[in-house]
């Protein structure tokens, strides 16, 4: 495993700027998640590290060595794609063995059998080894494509939304599984997603990307509790953070234009009066849609609340975050 460092990476596709001066370090043994909406530059970053694309400028160091001139094969990286990752004309076993048979690795036949068996065991797909890749369910397919990365001993694992095409249950199982595998191998993983739950639950560090810029890099807790901007604050947390004008509650510091208030950080019972528009019982908690004038906000309350739509409530902030005119954080 290795440390990967990006220095001042720029990349454009025609007139479209994909990455603008991105620098970051993926420490050895870390699980770094790049988070951002479509078009933020997440996948581009991954492809630059893999060697499938070349940066316009900047350097990429893998283990301290400049890799920009190297081919994907030379970089010895493994990648898990979002979909289309299994070769449909091969069996599961052949798919898993494929990277081992490459001219770079040229693994012996016994070694291939051993490794494929081992990985199949870890991912609980041993009984499917002789199936055609196309005969698997979505979850099994994604397991196999993760397995295809695991059979090798690459310097870094690159994963491009590997769980996004799976259903919720499987996603949550595989999240834990991936995290466990990473911990036990001590693997370095660079992982791309737009799912904030994946970022929060798996990452050791999260990189928040916005239109090709890396706006914040830190632990999930740092980004959740101490975001640098409205944008970064909106990346984590579901439902999304409420953004209200600064004068909505008293006590805003000078220069603050808006208040960011996470739904779970609203106290009921005192303060501003608002009207309940809709009550959503989600089972483990209840979501209240509140309205005052033209402002909509969402808060959470316990699951068996008696609050009815139309009811007037009083709300007060618990951990307000203040932001300036450009959306930048203002600390009080």
């Amino acid at each position: 495993m290795a440390e990967v460092t990006l220095n001042n990476i720029c990349k454009s596709f025609g007139s479209q700027v994909a990455l603008a001066d991105v620098s970051m370090t993926v420490p050895d043994g870390s699980f770094v998640v790049l988070l951002g909406p479509t078009g933020a530059g997440k996948t581009t970053t991954l492809r630059l590290v893999s060697g499938l694309d070349k940066p316009d400028s900047g350097t990429i160091l893998i283990d301290g060595v400049d890799a920009v001139a190297q081919s994907p094969a030379q970089r010895n990286v493994a990648m898990v794609f979002q979909q289309y990752s299994l070769y449909p004309h091969l069996s599961v076993r052949e798919n898993l063995a494929f990277p081992l048979k490459s001219p770079i690795l040229r693994t012996s036949a016994e070694e291939i059998v051993r490794k494929v068996g081992e990985v199949a065991e870890t991912l609980q797909i041993s009984h499917k080894l002789d199936n055609k890749a196309t005969e698997l369910s979505g979850g099994e397919m994604q397991r196999v494509s993760i397995g295809r990365a695991l059979v090798r001993n690459p310097r870094i694992y690159l994963m491009d939304e590997p769980l996004s095409s799976l259903d919720a249950k499987l996603r949550s199982d595989l999240r834990i599984e991936l995290k466990r595998i990473q911990a036990s191998l001590g693997a370095t993983i660079l992982y791309v997603t737009h799912d904030q739950i994946e970022a929060m639950t798996m990452a050791t560090q999260v990189g928040v990307l916005d239109h090709g810029k890396l706006v914040q890099f830190g632990t999930p807790r740092e980004i959740y509790e101490d975001p640098v901007s409205i944008y970064a604050a909106s990346r984590l947390g579901s439902p999304k953070i409420n953004i209200l004008p600064a004068d909505f509650f008293p006590g805003a510091p000078g220069g603050a234009v808006s208040i960011g208030l996470r739904p779970e950080h609203i106290r009921l019972g005192e303060g501003q009066e608002v009207q309940t528009v809709r009550v959503e019982h989600l089972g483990d908690q209840t979501r209240l849609h509140l309205k005052i004038n033209d402002l909509n906000l969402i808060t959470l309350t316990e699951s068996h609340t008696q609050i009815q739509p139309g009811e007037r409530l009083k709300i007060a902030p618990q951990f307000p975050l203040y932001f300036g005119s450009n959306g930048e954080r203002i600390k009080s």
Binding site: A168, I176, R180, H194, D195, T201, R262
Partner: protein
């Protein structure tokens, strides 16, 4: 708008039974969810209500009239396939007025109708625009407008948001629900996403293998699932299941798990053999004094809360606790269960055992 009653509905495709025997009632103006995994028969049920499939047996009443063997065109129902399936070569107005034109409605009347619908949907400004350049939200409104303009008795929607990415879907779901609240139109909505069903639905039918597993309001289904399947399907993470061998008798208000006695809602039904002890993650808490212990195998940070996965003597279970509470992998902790939130299931049949807790919910379901 109409009430829809489904009675003993069944559909066979050759040897394969897609829907075994469904019965439920959709009240006038309700936003009604058909929920279940793929292949459970929910889409077939929806298509039978719409008249796109004819049932093998059973009845469908729309406003009291048995329509089960009538063709779709005689049922006066709108079917919204995909929110984004618009005619790309027509502009917004033409798209919305299309169904009226094909009915042969006079021009002046069409114009008035379209204006009314556009006002309701808030798309008056874009009526003259071609649909190709519009945002996803606008396209969704137009697709709906095309369905609304006919003033059907009910709307059928088959996973209309299924193709969207998570963030956008959330917004669309909210929009759709708000629109429903304004119109009050009876809506039947098929989804496999339990969160979507909980969030949007007034009532939910949970289907599995062609059968109705449970039918009711979201919170009741979440709190008091009728079967192991429902308990597992609803909620994320889903309910914890602790398996044990033993017996429960009517009148019991405690049960022993590995020698550890836990208080439970007073049972109204007896059961012997393999029993499943069900408890939702938010009702599992840490208690250093408890003798029932588990090893932490994963802790997932979620902001204010965290989900801790534990290995216990009766299987793995998850607990949702505040993220401020310390929980590190490898640690051994004592566990406490909120006694009011426990459901026992008979493992053989998968059905919940009746108790003082769930009898109110299960009796009328």
């Amino acid at each position: 708008m109409a009430q829809i009653i489904i009675r003993n509905l069944r559909k066979d495709f050759g040897d394969f039974t897609a829907v075994k025997s469904s019965s439920f009632t959709i009240e006038e103006g309700e936003f009604f969810m058909l929920l279940g995994p793929s292949g459970c028969g929910k889409t077939t049920t929806l298509r039978m209500i719409a008249g796109l499939e004819l049932p093998t047996s059973g009845e469908i009443y729309i406003d009291g009239e048995d329509v089960s063997q009538k063709p779709a065109s005689n049922r006066d129902i709108a079917f919204v396939f995909q929110m984004f399936a618009l005619y790309p070569h027509l502009n917004v107005r033409q798209n919305i007025s299309y169904p009226l034109k094909s009915q042969g409605m006079p021009k002046r009347q069409i114009k008035a109708k379209v204006a009314e619908v556009a006002k309701l949907l808030g798309i008056e400004e874009i009526l003259h625009k071609p649909v190709s350049g519009l945002s996803g939200g606008d396209r969704q409104r137009i697709a709906l407008g095309r369905a609304i303009v006919r003033e059907p008795k009910a709307f059928m929607m088959d996973e209309p948001l299924g193709a969207l990415d998570a963030e956008f879907r959330e917004r669309m779901a909210e929009d759709l629900r708000a629109l429903h609240d304004r119109m009050g139109a009876t809506t039947v909505y098929v989804t496999h996403d339990q969160l979507e069903a909980m969030q949007m639905g007034d009532k939910i039918v949970v289907m599995n293998h062609g059968s109705v597993e449970q039918f009711g309001v979201p919170q009741d289904i979440y709190d008091w699932p009728a079967t192991i399947f429902v308990a597992d399907f609803i909620g994320s993470p889903s309910m914890n299941f602790l398996h044990f061998n033993g017996s429960v008798n009517a009148g019991d208000s405690a049960v022993a798990l590995e020698g550890q006695v836990f208080e439970i809602p007073t049972q109204l039904q007896s059961c012997e053999g393999e029993i499943v002890f069900g408890i939702r993650p938010e009702y599992v808490s840490f208690d250093q004094n408890s003798l029932y212990r588990g090893d932490i195998i994963a802790a997932e940070y979620l902001g204010t809360t965290q989900i801790v996965t534990l290995q216990s003597r009766n299987g793995t279970l998850k607990s949702r606790i505040p993220s401020a509470e310390p929980a590190s992998v490898g640690e051994n902790v004592g566990l406490a269960f909120n006694p009011r939130a426990i459901t026992l299931f008979d493992k053989k049949t998968g059905a919940a055992l009746l108790s003082e807790g769930n009898k109110g919910v299960l009796d009328n379901g």
